[in-house]
């Protein structure tokens, strides 16, 4: 005779192995840690999703690069290239080096038109050898193009980030992850607008992990941050 109920221990085992996805948790996914532990906890898979487009809504110049720098540094350390497709301004070489990103991994792709930018981003996302592809597109992105980008990212399997000017927060998109990033005090406020998992209503407040001045030797003058504490001390702390 077989028991009327399945063995409870085997059910627990199945839950532990992740064979059953419970709706109050984030879906398992291939991911690359973002370098911000507080953010990783809330992201499916524990970081930026791989093989998908991660959508970041922002106002240019409000901390979007510093949010991405730890993950990009990891990509560069693995010897994989990072493609910047149609960024709003020139990536400033000394700063990217200060962020720990080897410049021989960095490729800056300019595009004369929005169509060319989307095409270049699709090509970069679909390339398996490409470690990270970052694309800047305007607020308007039609659904067909978005779907193409998502499919390309699934083919390539690398880290794909689409940085959009923070307007269309409520617009539908085929991308599985959408964040809104804004500068806040000495760090950022990140709102997860969409993820594969339960909705998160509270914004996350992240602090800058790297000090502003990352010099080989301490700066000659005592540089204080917003709250008046000397930066050198903050670094030790």
């Amino acid at each position: 005779m077989s028991p009327p109920f399945p063995d409870p221990s085997s059910l627990q085992q199945a839950m532990r192995q992740g064979a059953v996805w419970r709706g109050d948790r984030c879906a398992p996914a291939a991911a690359r840690p973002s370098g911000h532990p507080a953010l990783d906890v809330q992201l499916p898979g524990g970081g930026w999703g791989l093989g998908q487009v991660n959508e970041v809504l922002h106002r240019p110049g409000q901390g979007e690069l510093a949010l991405l720098f730890p993950a990009l540094r990891r990509v560069a350390e693995e010897g994989r290239p990072i493609l910047l497709v149609a960024p709003p301004w020139a990536p400033y070489a000394p700063a990217w080096l200060q962020a720990g990103i080897a410049l021989e991994r960095l490729v800056w792709v300019r595009a004369a038109s929005a169509v060319d930018a989307l095409w270049a981003l699709e090509q970069a996302l679909a390339e398996p050898g490409c470690g990270a592809a970052l694309g800047w597109v305007g607020p308007q992105l039609d659904d067909r193009h978005a779907r193409r980008l998502q499919l390309a990212a699934r083919r390539g399997g690398g880290l794909g980030v689409l940085l959009r000017h923070g307007t269309a927060e409520q617009a539908a998109s085929p991308f599985p992850l959408r964040l809104a990033v804004a500068a806040h005090g000495d760090g950022w406020r990140v709102r997860i607008l969409k993820r594969r998992g339960p909705p998160l209503n509270e914004p996350l407040y992240l602090a800058r992990t790297a000090p502003v001045a990352s010099l080989g030797e301490p700066p000659p003058a005592v540089v204080t941050d917003l709250f008046g504490a000397p930066l050198a001390e903050r670094r030790v702390a």
């Binding site: 010897g79 020139a90 400033y92 490729v107 800056w108 090509q123 050898g129 990352s214």
Partner: protein
């Protein structure tokens, strides 16, 4: 020494690509004619024409009397020589010693048998390759080049490996394989000699008196008794191939199909020599205009036709033909050594280094200057400390203070509100100034106090005050 002779009996016809018959029409017999005295005679006929009773050396008028639906090609000796040279270049992938004889290629294969796993696999590879390029072929193997050449020309698929067997193998061949001049041929015919066996039986000194010294020497060379040095084929150090079009080429989409044929030929040429190219030039000739051209480049030398085609497809997106083209020529004149260089072990999926093909495709469509890396320059003036560089350029960090991830293309003037610089919000300066005073030597000197500044929204900017006039400028964003 072991020689593989590849005789191309239909070479004069094979250099003309076959034109498909229109739908519903039967294939028409094809012949090649050459001038002969005042008239024209048939040089070569295809099997269909032969079945209709046409023979080489027949007068063209007689052939037209027999068959009136003929495709007639004028013989092109230059095209035949080019085709033979191209095949010789291709054959260099098998052996370093390739000699060119009339209508025949001679490959010294004694040294490479082991590498290819024996005679039969090597011959299969070579012969399949030749047939795949559209040439009729008869092949033979012998220890001396002349013997191999004669056996192949006779069409007997014979393999002779020991010199001692040569006299017996050669004795059955007709004298026609020697391709003698008319006078010696006439003399031998009058002597009643029809085969090589009869000729070999004659004493050489008497033969030399009657027909000259060349023939006895050739016989000795064929038997391996006299030296027969051959000059190896030296391939040209550039590639140029032309396709003449029967109808004008209107669009670049059709051109891509033609380019695929040219690129296949280029790949065959390059892989025989272990070379690659980094830049290609397509030349178009037009009926009433000077020729125009299209240049395509990639970041790293390659020879693979598929990669070139992928780049070419992107290159033509924003290009167009100046006028309908009557011929397309592919020119590759700077060849790079490719073999012996390290290739990626796992292909692009290995993830090391730059995806060259992707960058080439991006560059082909967006323009050569659109895909770059950035590099640092040891220079105090911030706008000069970062320059565009070819992708993959490494640089050293600069011993400088905090620098913003984005630098504006040009500093933007900031207005003052309540004595503080203002950029949509009041900017609060964090910390002390970093003074940069440099460049007096090239008339572009700057004297600036740089600050990291933060607005109420939390955004951080890199601003400076010009020390000479006190104006405030925005120079970058700490994104």
């Amino acid at each position: 020494m072991l020689w593989l002779a590849l005789h191309l009996p239909q070479l004069a016809l094979d250099v003309f690509p076959p034109t498909p018959a229109p739908d519903g029409m039967p294939q028409r017999p094809r012949i090649v004619v050459a001038s002969h005295g005042r008239g024209e005679r048939l040089a070569l006929v295809d099997p269909l024409a032969a079945s209709l009773g046409l023979k080489p050396d027949m007068k063209l008028s007689a052939a037209l009397a027999l068959v009136n639906e003929l495709v007639i090609h004028r013989r092109k000796p230059q095209a035949e020589a080019d085709a033979l040279a191209q095949l010789a270049g291709w054959a260099l992938r098998f052996t370093p010693t390739v000699a060119v004889a009339p209508q025949t290629l001679l490959l010294e294969i004694g040294g490479c048998l082991r590498y290819f796993g024996g005679l039969a696999p090597l011959r299969a590879q070579v012969e399949q390759g030749v047939v795949a390029q559209g040439y009729a072929l008869s092949a033979a193997v012998a220890p001396t080049p002349l013997a191999a050449q004669w056996l192949a020309r006779h069409g007997a698929d014979v393999t002779v490996t020991a010199p001692a067997e040569l006299p017996r193998a050669l004795s059955g061949l007709p004298l026609a394989v020697l391709a003698l001049a008319p006078a010696p041929a006439q003399t031998l015919r009058q002597l009643g000699i029809a085969t090589l066996g009869q000729l070999l039986a004659l004493p050489r000194s008497g033969l030399a008196r009657r027909v000259g010294p060349a023939l006895p020497l050739a016989l000795e060379q064929a038997l391996g008794h006299a030296a027969d040095p051959r000059d190896g084929f030296v391939p040209p150090d550039r590639f140029e191939r032309c396709i003449d079009l029967d109808w004008p080429l209107e669009t670049l989409e059709v051109f891509v199909k033609l380019a695929a044929r040219l690129l296949d030929a280029l790949e065959a040429f390059l892989s025989g020599r272990g070379l690659g190219v980094q830049s290609l030039y397509f030349r178009f000739t037009h009926e009433d205009r000077p020729p125009s051209g299209l240049r395509v480049g990639v970041g790293r030398p390659t020879r693979r036709a598929a990669e070139w085609l992928a780049v070419l497809r992107e290159r033509i997106v924003h290009a167009q033909l100046a006028a309908p083209a009557t011929s397309v020529t592919l020119v590759a004149d700077t060849l790079h050594l490719l073999d012996g260089l390290p290739l990626t072990l796992f292909g692009p999926q290995g993830g090391q280094g730059l995806p060259e093909l992707l960058l080439a495709r991006l560059g082909a469509r967006l323009g050569p200057d659109a895909v770059t890396g950035v590099a640092t320059v040891p220079e105090h003036r911030p706008e000069r400390a970062s320059i565009d560089a070819p992708p993959g350029t490494a640089s050293a960090p600069l011993p400088v203070g905090p620098r913003p991830g984005w630098l504006l293309p040009a500093p933007r003037p900031l207005p003052l509100r309540d004595g503080e610089p203002w950029h949509g919000e009041t900017l609060r300066r964090l910390g002390r100034a970093e003074r940069i005073e440099s460049g007096w030597w090239d008339n572009d000197d700057v004297a600036r106090d740089y600050y990291v500044a933060q607005g109420a929204s939390g955004a951080r900017y890199w601003i400076y005050q010009d020390c000479r006039d006190g104006d405030w400028w925005l120079h970058g964003c700490f994104a």
